[in-house]
């Protein structure tokens, strides 16, 4: 009962109108881009490859990461900013339960938003007939795993810093630079990117894989599907456990009150 109430309260807190506006913008980026391209280019457009490209770069590479940053960091920092965290932290509920409820709320909303974005993208590009061929359902299924892993990482950063801007800054750097550039670097750099594993699990073909570029062929480390699953699950479990432990022992008092 207490956990359900905490979960509902976290959902309400994370779906404030201002935050929802940006979520809607994120959801619509990939479908809007797809619509724009479809309306302007009538011929010579390989729809299946175009869908894979947008799914890889926009939905997985951008929307999923940014939604995880927004909601996972918001799980801690929004109450800290509003200073209402004191009401929760002085109730007879273990701190880890409070954070776990907030984490699950964040994962729920981010997953739903990412699902919506991918569904709209698929509807505009491949349509109902192309769903099976494009591994659409597999990609939908891997989204929650991606959200769990990324949200765990960003939750840990938010729990560590207790501030909004630091995890947001790190999240944006991570999403925009690390996860975009690192998988494309020559050698074995790709193993340091969660996106590499998610792409493998979701059977998303990236540009390099298609073209057999120097960057991709230079890699000596072959990632198997089971390794990908292991890395994603371990990232999720370890980062979540570390966040829960940290949240249980760290002081969380709104900044100006400690000054």
């Amino acid at each position: 009962m207490t956990d359900l109430i905490l979960y509902q309260s976290a959902i309400r807190d994370l779906t404030r109108p201002k935050r929802l506006f940006w979520v809607c913008v994120l959801i619509l980026i990939a479908p809007a881009l797809a619509l724009l391209v479809r309306l302007s280019i009538h011929n010579h457009l390989d729809i299946a490859s175009f869908y894979q490209q947008l799914c890889s770069t926009i939905v997985y590479g951008f929307v999923l990461v940014l939604l995880s940053v927004l909601f996972a960091t918001g799980a801690i920092t929004s109450e800290l900013e509003q200073k209402t965290i004191v009401y929760l932290l002085t109730r007879p509920v273990a701190r880890w339960r409070i954070l776990l409820a907030k984490y699950l709320a964040a994962v729920t909303i981010a997953t739903l938003a990412a699902w919506l974005s991918l569904s709209l993208l698929a509807a505009i590009t491949i349509g109902a007939q192309g769903l099976a061929a494009a591994h659409f359902w597999l990609q939908m299924g891997i989204i929650p795993l991606g959200v769990l892993a990324y949200s765990g990482v960003f939750l840990f950063i938010a729990a560590l810093t207790g501030r909004t801007l630091v995890p947001l800054g790190i999240g944006i750097f991570y999403g925009f630079l690390w996860e975009t550039i690192v998988p494309e670097l020559p050698g074995n750099f790709k193993v340091a990117s969660l996106m590499t594993y998610l792409h493998l699990m979701a059977k998303i073909k990236t540009q390099n894989q298609d073209s057999g570029s120097l960057f991709s062929t230079a890699s000596t480390f072959h990632i198997t599907l089971s390794v990908a699953w292991l890395v994603i699950l371990l990232t999720f479990i370890l980062s979540l456990m570390a966040s829960l432990m940290l949240f249980s022992v760290k002081e969380y008092v709104p900044r100006e009150e400690t000054a």
Binding site: T2, R91, P92
Partner: protein
């Protein structure tokens, strides 16, 4: 119920609370001090939001930091004005009651009782975003008392309340104290808490300056001349009459404002009873009457001098 043993709290280079030792039992205890004295730091240590840098803080013999066994028996009304603006007062108090472990009929009855106690029953179904400062204050107190805690800690509970609400809130807290509960409240206004309790802790610049009976502290204060400023139409004539009062030890004409007198008294209570009679008898027109010493800052200055 609450014990601090040489508790200190540093914020980087700044000290918030400095080597405080005290114990707080049942009844109302007022934590007094001017702004920045360390009241909120002390309450945050007691409520387990912060840990002491050195020393020890306990409640019911337990470390309060993130301890559900302590929070089960403690209610806390923070100073912050922020609340969950998009929910109603009833939903907020209900959420806090659920988190405190109340269920079913007990839950419903406790929420209604708490709202009635703070006189918020009629406005409870309105969203908190539309509440006035006083209403927010009352709903904050309601969430703190909803689970019938043994220890109630209130940070500046009278902020934003009108005089009638202050009196009512004072009665609510007095009733809780009469039931054997421990009520610890902070304030920077001495007379506000004087009417409710005689037990005070006085903090100044992080240090516990005085503790005990408020009358004893008052006695210390009264050893020093108390200043009062008066503005009138006939100041010289008023000065002549004032100097004849036994309670007045000095009268000075203000050089910057010729209609103002500065009076010094060592027995303020007696002066306050003599003065109106004298004014009425000689029909002086008093345009302003105030005491710069009636704030806690001056009280602390006196205590430090003492």
């Amino acid at each position: 119920m609450i014990t601090l043993e040489r508790a200190s709290r540093w914020y980087g280079q700044v000290i918030g609370l400095n080597d405080v030792t005290c114990s707080i039992g049942p009844g109302i205890t007022a934590l007094l001090g001017p702004n920045g004295a360390g009241k909120s730091s002390m309450l945050k240590l007691i409520t387990g939001q912060l840990r002491p840098t050195t020393g020890k803080v306990t409640m019911f013999g337990l470390d309060p930091f993130a301890n559900p066994n302590v929070y089960n028996r403690m209610g806390y009304c923070p100073e912050i004005e922020s609340a969950y603006d998009e929910v109603t007062g009833r939903q907020f108090v209900s959420l806090m009651a659920t988190l405190a472990g109340l269920r079913g009929e007990t839950h419903k009855r406790s929420v209604t009782n708490a709202l009635q106690l703070v006189d918020m029953e009629s406005a409870a179904n309105r969203k908190m975003g539309g509440y006035s400062k006083g209403m927010r204050q009352r709903i904050k107190v309601a969430q703190a008392i909803v689970h019938d805690p043994q220890v109630l800690i209130l940070d500046e509970p009278f902020n934003g309340l009108d005089p009638v609400s202050r009196r009512d809130m004072g009665l609510v807290l007095s009733n809780l104290a009469n039931q054997g509960k421990c009520v610890l409240l902070s304030s920077h206004i001495l007379h506000e808490v004087e009417q409710m309790t005689s037990t005070v802790l006085m903090l100044y610049k992080g240090r516990l300056l005085a503790s005990g009976n408020v009358r004893e502290i008052r006695g210390l204060i009264d050893r020093f001349p108390h200043k009062i400023s008066v503005e009138s139409d006939r100041v010289r004539e008023l000065a002549e009459h004032l100097i004849s009062l036994e309670s007045v030890i000095g009268v000075k004409l203000d050089s910057t404002n010729r209609s103002r007198l500065e009076i010094e008294t060592s027995t303020p209570d007696r002066f306050y009873s003599d003065f109106p009679a004298m004014v009425l008898e000689h029909k002086f027109q008093i345009t302003r009457f105030y005491s710069p010493d009636n704030n806690l800052e001056s009280v602390f200055h006196y205590l430090i001098q003492g």
